[in-house]
Symmetry: C2
Subunit: 352 residues, 2 copies
Amino acid sequence: MKLNIALLAGDGIGPEVIDQAVKVSNAIAKKFNHEIEWTSALTGAAAIDAVGEPYPDSTHAVCMAADAVLFGAIGHPRFDNDPTAKVRPEQGLLKMRKALGLYANVRPTFTFPSLIDNSPLKRERIEGTDLIILRELTGGIYFGERGRKDDGDTAFDTCTYTKEEVVRLAKLGFEMAMQRGKKLCCVDKANVLETSRLWRQTVQAMEKDYPEVTVSYEFVDAVAMRLVQWPSSYDVLITENLFGDILTDEASVISGSMGLMPSSSIGVHTSLFEPIHGSYPQAAGKDIANPLATVLSAAMMFEDAFGLKEEAAAIRDVVNKSLAEGVVTEDLAGKNKAYKTSEVGDWLAANV
Amino acid sequence: MKLNIALLAGDGIGPEVIDQAVKVSNAIAKKFNHEIEWTSALTGAAAIDAVGEPYPDSTHAVCMAADAVLFGAIGHPRFDNDPTAKVRPEQGLLKMRKALGLYANVRPTFTFPSLIDNSPLKRERIEGTDLIILRELTGGIYFGERGRKDDGDTAFDTCTYTKEEVVRLAKLGFEMAMQRGKKLCCVDKANVLETSRLWRQTVQAMEKDYPEVTVSYEFVDAVAMRLVQWPSSYDVLITENLFGDILTDEASVISGSMGLMPSSSIGVHTSLFEPIHGSYPQAAGKDIANPLATVLSAAMMFEDAFGLKEEAAAIRDVVNKSLAEGVVTEDLAGKNKAYKTSEVGDWLAANV
Ligand SMILES: CC(C)[C@H](C(=O)O)[C@@H](O)C(=O)O
Ligand SMILES: CC(C)[C@H](C(=O)O)[C@@H](O)C(=O)O
C-alpha cells in the first residue's frame, strides 16, 4: 500500500519525537511492504519564524493532499506571557483544525501495568481504567466571536453550537461506545449554559437509536471530581471543546503514562494523529523527550487512517517490549539507565 | 456581640447539616457571650415548591438585613434531566450571588493528617497541600447573554469580563497571598480567549503593587493536570467563574476530606458561608450526611464576617477533637462505629 503522510513536526520537542515515529513507521512499512511518502511542512512558532504565520497555505495544501497527518506539537513560551502578540503559534493549531474540519479529538486514557505506580493516584483507583474522551474540536468558545469594548476594558468571547455539530460528535460517541463498554457520558453544564442544554437535548433525542448504550448526563464540575475519584467507572465521554480541553488534560495524568498517550483528530478532509504531551519547551533539543506517545500515535494512524491493524499491533508490541526491557527515556527510567530519545527510536525501529 | 445571621438551608442534605452548624454556633455563642439571631428563609427547590421561585424577594430581604448568610446547598435531581425546565433551583443560586454581589468564592483545600489516606491521591503527593482557589462568582459566562437561534437549533452563551471585575478579584488574591505563601497563580486560557487576555493583562499590571508576591500565569488545562500532580506547589489561585467551578471541584477531592471543606463567598452587601459538598440528594433525610463542612463554614463565618477568631478556633478545635475521637459519620467511620449527623452535631455542641 502507498501511504501519503503529511509530517508536521512543529515546535519544542516536536521534531525530535516525530523523528522517532518516522523511523518506526518506516521500519513497519519495510516489514509489511508498504511505501510511505512523507511530506514535511511547517507549523507553529517554527512557521512564524520562517514565513510569518503559524499555519501557512502551503502547509494546508500538504495536509489536504495527504491521507493522514502526523503531528508533533505546537507552542513556544516566548508567546505565552505576551497577551497582546498579534500572531501566535496556537492560532495555527486552531486554523488547522478548522480548515481540515478536525471535528473530533479522540483521547484514550488507559493504564500500562508496568507504569501504574507512576500515577499520582493510588493503584486501586486506576486499575482497569480504559476510557475515551471525545472532544468536539471545531466549535464552541474557541471559534465564536470575541473582542473588546469600552476602550479595551471589556472583553467578550462567544460560545456557539449548532445541533448538527452536536449530532456529528455524539454519533461518533455512540458508535465508539457500541464497540466498547456500551456506556456514554455526556459532559455539560446544562444547569447554566444554553449551549449545554442544546447538547443534552440533542443527545437525549439520539438515545433511542442506540438502545444498548447506557447514557448518563453529568456536569463538568462533577466529572472533574469523578475522573480523579473513579476513572475506571467511565467508558466513553463526549463533550464540547473547552470542557474537553480541560478534562482530557486532567485525565492524562491519571494513568501515570502521560508521556505515552496518543490521540487522533477525526476530520472531514483528513485525520490527524499526535501525542498529547505538547511542545514541552524545557526539554527541546536535549534528546531526552519520551517518543512513545508519538510512536503510539503513528500506531493509531496505521489502524484508523489506513485500516492496517496488524501494523498498528506490531508497533504497540514493540513499544511494550521496550517498556518491559527498560529501553526508555529518563522520565520512565527511575534508577535505571536512561536512553536518549533517538536511542529509543533506533531500538524500536530495529526491533519491529 | 449581637450576630444577625440569615439561615438558608436549601435542598437535599442542606437542612440536616445546617441544623448541626446552628447547634454548634449556639453553643459557641453561649460560651463566648454572644447573642445570635437566626432568620431562616427559603431557597432552591424548597422555595420553588413553596412559592414558585428559587430565590424569592423575601429571602433576599432577609439576606440583605443580615450580617452574614449561612447556606446549606441547592439543587434537586428532579430538575437535572429536564433541560427545558423553566424554573430551576440553580437560578436561585445565581440570582442570589448576583443580588448580594458575592463576587469572590473562597475555596481552601487543605489536608487533615488523620484523613490523608482517604484521598485517591498518594500521600506523598498531597502532604502539605494548603491552597486557596479564589473564584470570580458574579461574571463570565454564567451571567452573559445566552439564547437560541435558527428555530432553536443554534445555541449561544457569552462570556464577558470587565477590567474592574478582574481588579476586584485579583486584589483579594494578592492580599491573601501576602498573608500566606506569597505565591499567586492566575489561571486562564489566554492562548485562546479574549477575556483571558484581559485577565492576564490586568493582573500583570497589578504585579508592581505587590513586589513580594511571585505571580505565575498558567493555562487552565495545565492547572487541571498539576492540581492532581503537585497540589502542594500551589498557594493562592485566582480564576474566572467557569474555570473556578471546575477547578474547585477537582481540588476538593485532593485532600480526601471533601466532606469537611468549607467555603465563603465575599460580597458587596454581605458574605455567605457554605459547605462545598452540595445537596447530595441520595443521602437527604437519612441523618447520615457529614455535617463538618458546614460546621467549619460556620467557623469561617465567625472569623471572617465577625472578626471572632477565638470563637472560630474553638469550633475548629472541637471538630479536630471529634475526628481524633472518631465521633464521625459513616463516610469517615471506616470499620468503626458511624454516628448520625445529628449525633455528631450534639457531640460537638456539648464539647465546645
Ligand atoms: C494550544 C491550545 C490552543 C490547545 C487547545 O486549547 O485546544 C491545546 O491545549 C490542546 O488541547 O490541543
Ligand atoms: C449549581 C451550579 C449552578 C453551581 C455553579 O456552577 O456555580 C455549583 O456547581 C457551584 O459550584 O456552586
